[in-house]
Subunit: 119 residues, 2 copies
């Protein structure tokens, strides 16, 4: 996932792998190799570096960790809106979830606070 989003955002910004790496503060000697390794999914960058990359590419960090395209798109939009414009979006989101039953918030495991028989 991260690899794909990285390439997507870098190309949109019109930067080379090496240039992006340098801007993100990577040692210029290894910027090219490292960014290539990340973008091809050979190695994975730590979160701190991704925060700097995200800033440079003007995207929310979490976007790089998002698989679903619709979720990614919403994050991107929200990130680029100013505080006042964000408000109505959040408000609508809150009312939609209130009107729709998420059935149970901590689902998928049969945890109902039983005293844990054995484990």
């Amino acid at each position: 996932m991260l690899a794909h989003r990285l390439k997507q955002a870098r190309l949109r910004a019109g930067l080379s792998q090496e240039k992006l790496g340098k801007l993100a503060g990577i040692d210029p000697m290894s910027a090219s190799a490292r960014m290539n390794q990340y973008e091809r999914g050979k190695h994975s960058p730590d979160y701190q570096l991704m925060c700097r990359v995200a800033e440079i590419l003007n995207m929310p960090v979490s976007w790089f960790y998002t698989a679903d395209d619709e979720q990614a798109r919403l994050q991107e939009i929200f990130y680029h809106l100013d505080a006042n414009t964000r408000r109505p979006l959040l408000t609508q989101a809150e009312s939609l979830i209130a009107a729709n039953p998420p059935s149970n918030s901590s689902a998928s495991n049969g945890n109902t606070a039983q005293p844990t028989t054995a484990n």
Copy 2:
């Protein structure tokens, strides 16, 4: 960030560190130590493991990589909405961003596709 969100979501689900680790497929012998190291920010888990943890805690993975609380909240809500209910939210988002000028999408670096003088 990840450390904090992990604790937040785990406590909400009413699971112990060890139990969550086991459910996520970690070797039962080291589940406790590892989850504790992640939650205290001592070490950081790889993305693949976080995907499994996210599923168990019924949250979108990207949520764990989100610093901003409003962004996190929006992601959480969107994730719990069904496809049909997501639609109007995305539509409003798209129209808000269309009405508001993000000034320039790939900002913050002076890149305007010049032939790159030197580097």
